[in-house]
């Protein structure tokens, strides 16, 4: 279905209106200045056309008044755009507390998607309408970009790191999913559809794949299989290796003084190259690095969601540690985000609790509106 305006993309997220508003403001400005200048020019060009080959007009030196006028006014206008743009951006950047998490892994040239309830999809994303969705994205290979025009949002998916993106769909339907960052041969083929469903239909769809195991259980299995248990303990209570219970979302003190926040990036990093951050008191390098060969990005995500499930409470509270005070009082109703964990650690650890796979997120799937 098309929107009421020709040549406008569909609006399907609570966020679309804000972006469109800014867009129309700028279209207006552009039209205004284009008309202003071109009409003036045409007027002058006709009025002062050369009448005799020898005529010499009197020179005009210039005018300080005018110069200041047309530097200051454009500057003020520009600032208005800046402020508006920034406010929209911040709205995008603020993570909702109670979002339903979905894991996304990009690889040349497909999107692999896994719901906390276990459903897996490829190049398809099913979400309920009117529910805040938070994607945690990464990639196996090069940079990709998760782009849903109808939601007016996108985020680069950067290798070696997690990016988050979130939105709240407002209208059931099927919308384009594009890869917007050039990623090689089949870049233009790396897309699919986002299907927004009524909550009831969505639950139907969910129950369809109920038998599949959730990332948490999958992670737990990996935790056994990969031999993590031998050092971190059967329940992650720790042993030769540091304990994992309650680690997620806490501040971890490292060898060499500095403390870091145990967010997704930290845990992924501790799996991929453990030597790079050694937890205080575990100097001797026991833990082997797990490369792509042993653990795909999806596996890592499963392990992370398992480890998250080990710290139901701790994950709370320190989220704001890294969110700018300036933002604390910002309104929470942003819809889509396009910032990396860097930008959003605070926020996304905060709601790590809210969306903790065990405590909330799994129900978050089933208990989604309407059930």
């Amino acid at each position: 279905m098309q929107s009421w305006l020709p040549f406008m993309p569909e609006k399907a997220s609570t966020f679309a209106d804000r972006v469109d508003g800014l867009y129309f403001y700028l279209v207006g400005l552009t039209a205004f200045f284009t008309l202003l200048i071109s009409i003036t020019i045409i007027f002058f060009v006709i009025k002062y056309r050369r009448r005799s080959p020898t005529e010499v007009p009197r020179p005009i030196a210039g005018s300080l008044k005018l110069e200041t006028l047309w530097s200051v006014i454009p500057f003020l206008i520009a600032m208005s755009i800046f402020v508006w743009g920034a406010s929209v951006y911040f709205a995008q950047y603020r993570m909702p507390k109670d979002a339903m998490e979905i894991y996304v892994v990009g690889k040349q040239w497909m999107w692999k998607i896994q719901h906390t309830t276990g459903q897996r999809e490829i190049n398809e994303l099913h979400i309920p309408v009117g529910r805040k969705i938070k994607l945690i994205l990464t990639t196996e290979d090069v940079i990709h970009d998760f782009f849903v025009p109808a939601f007016r949002t996108k985020a680069d998916v950067v290798p070696g790191r997690y990016t988050t993106l979130w939105f709240e769909a407002t209208k059931p339907g099927r919308y384009h999913l594009f890869c917007a960052e050039y990623c090689g041969t089949n870049h233009s083929g790396m897309g699919g559809w986002v299907t927004v469903m009524d909550p009831t239909d969505f639950d139907q769809w969910l129950s369809g794949g109920a038998n599949q195991e959730s990332p948490v259980t999958a992670g737990q299995k990996l935790f056994q299989a990969q031999g993590c248990v031998s050092c971190h303990g059967a329940q992650g209570e720790g042993g030769k290796g540091p304990p994992l219970i309650g680690v997620f979302g806490s501040k971890v003190k490292l060898e060499g003084g500095e403390t870091v926040e145990a967010n997704e990036d930290y845990i992924r990093n501790s799996i991929r190259n453990p030597q790079s951050q050694i937890v205080e008191g575990f100097r001797q390098p026991l833990m082997p690095a797990y490369y792509k060969e042993q653990l795909s990005e999806e596996h890592v995500l499963q392990l992370i969601s398992y480890i998250k499930s080990l710290s139901p409470t701790k994950a709370q509270g320190n989220g704001s540690a890294t969110t700018a005070p300036a933002l604390q009082n910002k309104e929470q109703t942003g819809t889509a985000t396009t910032t990396t964990t860097q930008g959003t650690t605070g926020a996304n650890t905060k709601d790590a609790a809210g969306s903790n796979p065990v405590i909330k997120a799994q129900p978050g799937g089933r208990k989604s509106p309407g059930q």
Binding site: E255, G256, N273, Q275, S276, P285
Partner: protein, 225 residues
């Protein structure tokens, strides 16, 4: 350096056809060289930026790797370069006052010092190759610190010192060119711009090393092995 000599040894008379007078030509030469050096600053700047960021990211690994470098050789080389800077400055001085013999002599010493620097650097490189510390498939590291990150240190180390050495080699070429013409008695108190601006270049290369030495060899020593 190109900027300088290209212009001057062209015409038989020292004054190139398109300049009005020697003064203008000299000025053009030195400004030209300075602008060129600014471009050099930005060129190395990119590497220094990369260094700073990764050092901040991987402090442990960088300290470990840096401690593995041979600071004595690095120090000796620093001294060698500073001395060569002095001799270069003196060579310029004697060109200015028009004393040919000491000028040639100091140019030669500068050249030899430059060569010494490269030889010592050569030994250092050889050492690193022997210990499989050259980044790439053959890289091997069992000191503490994540091998990947240590490798990045050595990557930056070789990139920076390598480019610096390249500049030294060019510099040596220029100096031998200067010696050649100095012996022909080309340079006079009126006309010695080439010596002067080549001096600028040489000092710049020295300055780069003045930063490389502490950054690569020394930071992290206090942590001990």
């Amino acid at each position: 350096m190109a900027v300088g000599h290209v212009e001057t040894h062209s015409a038989q008379t020292a004054l190139a056809h398109h300049f009005d007078n020697m003064e203008q030509q000299r000025e053009a030469g030195s400004i030209g060289m300075w602008v060129f050096l600014v471009q050099e600053i930005m060129f190395f700047g990119g590497l220094f930026l990369a260094y700073s960021i990764f050092r901040a990211k991987f402090p442990e690994a960088f300290a470990a790797a840096s401690n593995h470098l041979n600071w004595k050789l690095g120090g000796i080389n620093t001294v060698v370069l500073i001395v060569s800077s002095l001799t270069m400055a003196l060579a310029v001085y004697y060109a200015q006052v028009g004393k040919r013999r000491p000028q040639i002599w100091f140019l030669t010493v500068t050249l030899l010092l430059g060569a010494t620097f490269l030889v010592i650097k050569g030994f250092e490189y050889a050492e690193k190759f022997r210990d499989h510390l050259f980044p790439g498939p053959g890289f091997h590291w069992e000191g503490h610190g994540d091998p990947n990150q240590v490798q990045i240190f050595f990557w930056i180390y070789f990139a920076m010192t390598g480019l610096h050495a390249l500049h030294m080699i060019i510099g040596i070429g220029i100096i031998s060119y200067l010696i050649f013409y100095a012996r022909r008695g080309r340079f006079t108190p009126e006309y010695h711009a080439p010596v002067e601006i080549s001096g600028l270049y040489w000092h710049f290369v020295d300055i780069v090393w003045i930063f490389l030495f502490p950054l690569l060899y020394l930071l992290g020593r206090h942590l001990g092995e």
